[in-house]
């Protein structure tokens, strides 16, 4: 078995040079030291799992900034979903509040669904979640959203196509490639 021929990516160097300012930058954006530390950690973890070569410090900096910005947006979306879920629960009469276990299951599913649908227009995403998550008929969804049943059908098909393409692309990206086959 041959050892690694290519130059090792010096993640330690990157970390030394960029971790402090990245964390500061994140803290500035997020207004929270703990979140900033977590996201800075996540950013370097991603670099570890998907190594990249940088030819200059500014290049690394701008890449890290872009990645960290994406992580911030993800975090904000998560927080928004969590808050909306808490708000909805708070507005329910006590005997209708689901058990802690159900609450956690729902939240996790919502976060996953939101991560999948967040680029879709809200109406399309809402119709899709109602139709599939609540197993409502097109007529029921149409009434709730104030659109025609034909529109609901279109929304559902559009959201599903979007998700299929997303998944298919991911599946292809995740295929191991460029790895020499061992006999």
């Amino acid at each position: 078995m041959s050892t690694l021929e290519y130059e090792p990516i010096t993640i330690e160097h990157l970390y030394d040079d960029h971790h402090a300012w990245l964390q500061g930058w994140l803290r500035h954006r997020l207004g929270n030291a703990a979140d900033a530390a977590d996201l800075a950690h996540d950013a370097f973890l991603r670099l570890l799992t998907k190594p990249r070569r940088f030819d200059s410090a500014p290049e690394a900096r701008s890449y890290l900034c872009t990645m960290a910005n994406g992580l911030c947006v993800d975090l904000w979306r998560r927080r928004r979903i969590e808050q909306a879920w808490l708000d909805v629960l708070a507005a329910r009469p006590e005997d209708l509040v689901p058990s802690a276990e159900h609450q956690a299951i729902v939240l996790e599913a919502l976060l996953e669904i939101d991560a999948m649908l967040h680029s879709l227009p809200p109406k399309v995403a809402n119709a899709f979640v109602m139709a599939v998550g609540c197993e409502m008929t097109d007529r029921e969804v149409a009434e709730e959203l104030g659109v025609s049943t034909r529109m609901v059908r279109k929304y559902v098909a559009r959201a599903m196509l979007y998700c299929i393409r997303l998944d298919a692309r991911q599946a292809v990206e995740e295929l191991p490639h460029g790895v020499p086959c061992s006999v």
Partner: protein, 334 residues
């Protein structure tokens, strides 16, 4: 959910766009509540007609499975309303607007730009949420119970949202006594950086392109715009520009008592005293260099700078010339 006979796990190649589109349409029809037996038979025929159709349908099933935790859940309607609420377009619009305002404030106008204009902060201060005129002091309560004292010629903007409580100091000086809210961190932005207080009482002042912070209770985390950081514990102070953070030193108690209308001088040069008084007094206040280094002691009323001047005049070898109401100069006593 209708299941097809798909035994293989993840397909190795991406199905054609046409296969994916048809799969999505079949899915929309089959689950609509309006599909007939004939529709279902046609769908089976579609599946059987090509390998890539089965592959595409495999994705449909995978995606549907993500909704399973909701489907059997008694709280599913609540979950859907939470999802809708989080997706409310008005919320999105608001965020975009805020983003644009922030960009305008910081990017286009630029902090540096207005701080060098002859009437600093006026343009920004007019848009601020809370402000005081020169010589005015005011105490306000924010919606979370935080107490803020605004010193003379001060402007702050308030941006309280779901995730955080953010104050922007646009001009002047504030003393903050934060109310605790474990879910929403508090932060204060200045043109030179950000402050993250932890259960505190502290002052923040903008002066000549620098931010001055002094902490009297709790602690404050300081991060300059350039990313430098320091933690200030109670009794400590520092100042910083966008790029440089000064050493942490012992806090000057005088920096806090202004909230009680007092300017405390403990062996400070007259020049510093006058510089302070200028902040509270509209118009020109000149100081002759010959007396600039005289030392000042005692407490002076800052709500009434003219009386403070008279008090100084009575204890120091100086003469206060009132050439006009808006033009006063301090000279050596002859």
């Amino acid at each position: 959910m209708t299941k097809a006979n798909t035994s293989r796990s993840t397909p190795l190649s991406e199905p054609s766009h046409q296969a994916m589109e048809q799969a999505a349409e079949w899915f929309a029809l089959l689950r609509s509540g309006e599909a007939s037996d004939a529709d279902r038979a046609q769908w089976q025929a579609w599946l059987a007609s090509a390998r890539e159709n089965v592959d595409a349908w495999h994705y449909v099933e995978r995606i549907s499975r993500r909704f399973e935790p909701l489907q059997g859940n008694p709280a599913r309607r609540a979950a859907v309303s939470a999802f809708q609420r989080a997706n409310e377009p008005c919320l999105k619009r608001r965020e975009t607007l805020l983003g644009i305002v922030t960009l305008l404030g910081v990017g286009v106008l630029g902090w540096g730009c207005w701080s060098h204009t002859p009437l600093p902060g006026i343009a920004m201060a007019r848009r601020a949420d809370h402000r005081t005129a020169t010589g005015e002091q005011r105490e306000i309560f924010l919606s979370d119970g935080t107490r803020v004292w605004l010193n003379t010629a001060t402007a702050i903007s308030e941006d309280f949202s779901i995730g955080q409580r953010r104050l922007r100091l646009v001009a002047g000086e504030i003393l903050i006594q934060t109310a605790s809210d474990p879910l929403r961190p508090f932060l204060v932005d200045t043109p030179q950086g950000s402050l993250y207080p932890i259960g505190t009482r502290f002052t923040v002042r903008l002066d000549r392109g620098e931010t001055f912070v002094a902490v009297y209770e709790g602690a404050v985390e300081v991060i300059t715009a350039g990313g430098e950081g320091a933690t200030l514990s109670a009794g400590k102070q520092t100042h910083f520009t966008e790029r440089a953070l000064a050493f942490v030193e012992v806090a000057d108690p005088a920096r806090q008592v202004w909230s009680q209308g007092i300017l405390l001088a403990d062996n400070i040069p007259l020049a510093d005293m006058v510089r302070e008084l200028r902040r509270y007094r509209p118009g020109h206040l000149g100081l002759s260099p010959e007396v600039a280094d005289l030392r000042v002691f005692g407490s002076y009323p800052i709500n009434d700078p003219d009386r403070a001047l008279a008090m100084l005049e009575s204890v120091m070898p100086i003469r206060v010339h009132r050439r006009m109401s808006w033009w006063v100069s301090i000279e050596p006593e002859r």
